[in-house]
């Protein structure tokens, strides 16, 4: 098994192994949160779950606790849901200092308050020393879905505009640089944040929001490829319009990482009809964590799903999902 990067190999693992055993409407949707009808057949809820593993546990801009809350909240938001309740399950490694655990719980509490969710149930297991990486946290989230606001990765339509809520690559690079043994000096903070306000400010456009998706593991490129696949369309991005901090760009360049496949934890991709893109952009920019939002591309009809980047040279580069391995292709 070597399929954990969140890119093409993870997708293949899910497709080939997991979906062989599990079938349900919720899974079929292939979105980050399942959109489910409750038995009264009137109201719908969103359910999602995520396990969080990160080294180091603390990094500039966040920690595993904040990630565990924001990741799940943002997944609920991508279904257009109002996040409501969270469960939290902990797998602790023997020897984890209580003070560290408390620091993480404190962070979870604050993040949950910010995201206006309640942690309503939980679980704790302790594993032997050496069998865990300090702490693993699983969170499951439940939220309400409004009848008029049900975005999905399959709804991107040719002509739509693609909006991104801020800079890319911050989380992945922040965590990388924070890895103690590397000791890379870099002025990069994780973007881990709950994006409730952005989604709330989209309410006036509810029916017109085709897709909401958070580009987490695998980055912008992988997520857009998923959307292109689900909607059977092409997506074209404009390199110069994609927000990216100078520092992230520089570090990526020097280490040979691709910011387009680097993880984010507080970003949202919003796909809406072209006519309303400017209004939607303004609404996002007014929101907390949405100040640097930009229109980064458009959806176009294509016989097979593809994501293209119009480079600053005017050429079109094919953006692939994050591959299993980073290998040079220049021969």
């Amino acid at each position: 098994l070597g399929h954990g990067s969140g890119g093409a190999m993870t997708a293949e693992l899910i497709q080939r192994v997991f979906l062989k055993y599990f079938h349900s409407d919720g899974l079929q949707q292939k979105n980050d949160a399942a959109n489910l009808a409750i038995p009264d057949n009137i109201h719908r809820i969103a359910v999602t779950t995520d396990s969080h593993i990160v080294t180091p546990l603390f990094f500039p801009g966040g920690d595993i606790g904040r990630l565990a809350v924001c990741g799940t909240v943002n997944d609920l938001l991508t279904a257009g849901a109002t996040p409501k309740w969270l469960s939290a399950a902990f797998i602790l490694e023997e020897g984890l200092p209580i003070a560290v655990l408390e620091q993480i719980l404190e962070s979870m509490k604050k993040s949950a308050e910010e995201a206006q969710v309640e942690i309503v149930t939980g679980d704790t297991k302790v594993v032997e020393r050496g069998k865990g990486d300090g702490i693993f946290i699983n969170t499951t989230g439940i939220g309400y879905i409004a009848e008029n606001f049900q975005p999905g990765g399959e709804k991107a339509a040719p002509g739509d505009a693609v909006i991104l809520s801020g800079t890319i690559g911050d989380h992945g690079m922040a965590v990388l640089c924070a890895r103690g043994e590397l000791g890379i000096r870099a002025d990069i903070s994780s973007d881990a944040a709950p994006l409730n306000e952005i989604v709330r400010n989209l309410q006036p456009f509810a029916r017109s929001v085709h897709v909401l998706r958070d580009p987490t593991r695998g980055g912008l490129s992988t997520t857009l490829n998923e959307i292109a696949n689900q909607s059977q369309v092409g997506i074209e991005l404009d390199e110069k319009s994609i927000p990216i901090s100078k520092e992230v760009n520089a570090v990526c360049e020097m280490l040979g990482f691709d910011p387009y496949t680097t993880a984010n934890e507080g970003k949202m991709i919003i796909i809406v009809p072209d006519e309303i893109k400017q209004d939607v952009l303004l609404a996002i920019r007014r929101s907390k964590y949405g100040e640097n939002a930009a229109i980064i591309g458009r959806v176009f009809p294509n016989h097979s799903p593809i994501v293209l980047l119009q480079t600053n040279l005017g050429t079109h580069r094919i953006l692939d999902p994050l591959p299993g391995e980073l290998l040079p292709r220049i021969c």
Binding site: G256, D320, P328, C331
Partner: protein, 763 residues
């Protein structure tokens, strides 16, 4: 009296073969008929035995210059008392297939006509005959008849019809035949203004070039961007517009004497320049060559071609004597495919790239770039980019092939389709990362499948999981259920050369695959490999000791990173006095150190190409590469031809160690030895290494097996010439590619022949 039936396959259509048969039959008073089929030319002759024998003799010994007979079969048939010899309409049997002639440069007779004031084709830019003109680039399907080409929209006038129908005329059944009255016409556009037509268009375009402007000119396979090669301002603008900082531009000169003002042209080079393919030929610059440096920065060579269409000839007619050399570079941004159409979108791109457009209404069906070649020290042609004039000539394979689609590599892509005795290797497609190229790739595969009537039973691709060609092949295999065979890159390189030399069989060969990067069976990046291989598989006998490639493709674009990684991996410190150390920004140096310490995003490689890059950086020659291979090319260019010393490599088990070579280079640098000498010593070190490896393998297998060279590194002339001479001196039989390039342009053919073996064994 007797009769004989012939079937002839090869390149026998679009090359004047039927008129030749007709004329020969008439000469010997034979009766019967000849016709084109989708499977070759079919002939029936009736007459006295002696006449038929003479006919046969001529058929085999003196076919038309552009024809290539791959297979001639015949049998005796009962005599029939025919009244005449006739040319019958083409037969089309759906399952038959046949090669298609490549595009052919203008012939001498046509050249004379367009310059002859009294000829009806005087100054007509679309003049051609059975011996010349567009072929592959205008064919939609076979057999090669006018309605199956983009000439179908030009009904012939009565004068052209007479020529077309007269078996004794040079234009008998020349499909693109045309004249001023009935054929394609020129149009000249300038931003926003209406078109100017015909001769006026030509005049306007030449005036604009004389004014120093950049002109988009529609040729055989696409648009060129042309400008005065002596005009520095225009050159600078062109580099800006194309986003091409250093990569050399191709040149077209009025004629060979003009080229000789700037470059040396030996008889082989002259013959190649004047050949039917009319490729770009790389030629050594003369001392004091006054072509501006910015045409080909830091090069010792220039890529020249001569006019190969009537339009080119007419352009130079009007441009000279003021202008006798034009830059002729493909109309595209950076590495995108050449623009070849006349759609609104193409027009817009061309308007951005140029000051004016000289186009015409003969549609290009298949876009195809100019081919690039050179003559090596052994007077042999080397293919560097195989395209116009060569593709789609198939390679004749000595066995029946399964129908295979080989998807090819990522860069310099070609794909390959096989059927019968033929391997159809596509023209140069380009670098796949580009969306437009990838699109073109898929369209060309469909087109080749149609015109050569291949329905693949097997798909072959590279072992590299991230190549777009691999992804394409995987998807195709999933959709069609056809078996997918993944083939190691360097095995494909070597197999390609073996198969070209008809030596891909059970006999083993030594393969020296010296290349950029290719994915190895151990998950590392290979490229400095000595393989022992045959048609059943390969063994990796020796390879360069691995060193890290920090940041993958980033390292390849910045040779100083490779130099520093090489020093690091071999235990040398980064002294401030070293060129790569002074070239790397402080912060990046610190990060690189961390990256190497933790092997973060570092892939290990045994690539010879990367070693050349690293040495180039170490000598302070090239620190950032703006086009592929730049660092290695510049390293070659500085080498002192008079130096014969060399740095010895050490071999430990299967590893070729780099430490002593680097140590020696550092010592020489410290002692102030000139980089020209160090470069030469390094080159000679690699040459000696090759001998050492081959001798060891020969002793181990106790047989004098052939040695095969393949991989982009062999485009280095010092290395190629040196290794070939040294090996031959030591009685090795050296096999080289002749029709396909050393670089990745040959990989698809290698994939195809290997997949064919595997497929046969699956039965």
């Amino acid at each position: 009296m007797l009769g004989r039936h012939y079937q002839i396959t090869g390149i026998v259509q679009g090359v004047g073969f039927r008129p030749f048969v007709y004329q020969t039959a008439i000469k010997y008073h034979l009766k019967g008929d000849v016709c084109n089929s989708a499977n070759g030319v079919i002939i029936n002759v009736f007459g006295p035995q002696r006449s038929i024998d003479s006919f046969h003799e001529i058929l085999q010994t003196a076919p038309p210059p552009r024809a290539r007979i791959d297979h001639l079969s015949f049998f005796e048939v009962p005599f029939q008392n025919e009244k005449e010899f006739r040319i019958l309409p083409s037969q089309n049997i759906e399952t038959d297939f046949l090669p298609v002639s490549p595009d052919i440069c203008i012939c001498e007779a046509c050249q004379n006509e367009i310059l002859d004031f009294n000829n009806r084709r005087f100054h007509y830019p679309f003049t051609n005959c059975t011996n010349c003109g567009p072929r592959f680039s205008i064919i939609e399907r076979i057999p090669y008849d006018r309605p199956n080409t983009s000439m179908k929209r030009f009904p012939m006038c009565s004068s052209c019809t007479v020529e077309y129908e007269n078996p004794l005329d040079r234009r008998f059944h020349a499909q693109p035949v045309a004249c001023r009255d009935c054929g394609p016409q020129l149009t000249y556009f300038r931003n926003g203004s209406d078109g100017i037509f015909g001769d006026h268009a030509l005049i306007a375009a030449t005036e604009s070039i004389k004014d120093g402007e950049i002109m988009a000119i529609k040729g055989i396979g696409g648009f060129h961007l042309a400008c005065d090669a002596m005009n520095e301002t225009a050159l600078k603008r062109l580099r800006g517009i194309k986003h091409r900082s250093n990569k050399p531009f191709a040149l077209m000169a009025k004629d060979i004497p003009t080229i000789q003002k700037y470059c040396m042209v030996n008889p082989d080079e002259r013959a190649l320049l004047q050949s039917a393919a009319a490729p770009i030929v790389l030629l050594k610059m003369k001392v004091g060559c006054i072509i501006p440096e910015s045409v080909a920065p830091t090069q010792n060579e220039l890529g020249f071609m001569i006019p190969y269409t009537p339009l080119h000839i007419l352009l130079f007619e009007m441009l000279s004597p003021e202008i006798e050399v034009l830059v002729m570079t493909s109309a595209n941004y950076s590495e995108e495919p050449i623009v070849f159409g006349d759609s609104e979108k193409d027009r817009t791109i061309l308007a951005q790239l140029s000051d004016g457009i000289l186009t015409h209404n003969r549609q290009i069906v298949t876009r195809i770039d100019d081919s690039v070649t050179r003559i090596d020290q052994d007077h042999q042609r080397i293919m560097i980019r195989r395209a116009r004039g060569y593709a789609p000539d198939p390679i004749l394979v000595q066995r029946q092939m399964n129908q295979i689609l080989a998807a090819g590599p990522e860069l310099k892509n070609t794909f390959c389709l096989t059927r019968g005795n033929y391997a159809f290797i596509s023209h140069h497609i380009g670098d796949m990362e580009n969306a437009e190229t990838f699109q073109a790739y898929q369209e060309e595969i469909a087109h080749y499948k149609t015109i050569f009537r291949v329905t693949p039973e097997v798909i072959a691709c590279d072992l590299h999981p991230n190549y777009l060609s691999t992804t394409y092949a995987e998807k195709l295999s999933e959709e069609t259920g056809l078996p997918l065979i993944r083939i190691q890159h360097h095995y494909a390189h070597i197999a390609s050369v073996l198969a070209e030399n008809h030596r891909f069989n059970a006999e083993s060969a030594i393969g020296l695959a010296f290349d950029g990067t290719g994915y190895g069976t151990d998950g590392f990046i290979w490229g400095g490999e000595a393989l022992l291989c045959n048609n059943a598989g390969f063994e990796r006998v020796y390879h360069l000791d691995n060193f890290p490639l920090p940041g993958g493709d980033t390292a390849i674009r910045k040779p100083y990173r490779q130099a520093l990684a090489l020093l690091y991996a071999n235990g040398f410190s980064w002294e401030d006095s070293l060129f790569p150390v002074s070239s790397i920004p402080d912060r990046e140096k610190e990060l690189l150190k961390t990256q190497l310490d933790h092997h973060l995003n570092c892939v290990d490689t045994s690539s010879m190409g990367r070693l050349f890059d690293a040495i180039s950086s170490l000598l302070g020659i090239c620190q950032e590469a703006s086009y592929e291979g730049q660092a290695a090319i510049e390293l070659e260019n500085v080498a002192d031809p008079d130096c014969t010393e060399y740095y010895p490599f050490e071999i430990l088990e299967d590893k070729i160690l780099l430490k002593s070579v680097i140590g020696n280079i550092l010592d020489d640098l410290r002692q102030g030895i000139p980089k020209s000498v160090i470069s030469a010593k390094f080159h000679h070190g690699v040459i000696q290494l090759c001998l050492e490896i081959c001798v060891r393998i020969r002793e181990a297998v106790n047989l004098n097996i052939p040695t095969v060279l393949s991989g982009g590194v062999w485009q280095n002339q010092i290395l190629l010439g040196g290794v070939r001479d040294l090996l031959e001196k030591n009685s090795f039989n050296v096999l080289l590619p002749r029709q396909l390039p050393y670089n990745d342009g040959c990989v698809s053919f290698g994939q195809a022949v290997i997949a064919n073996e595997i497929k046969d064994r699956m039965r």
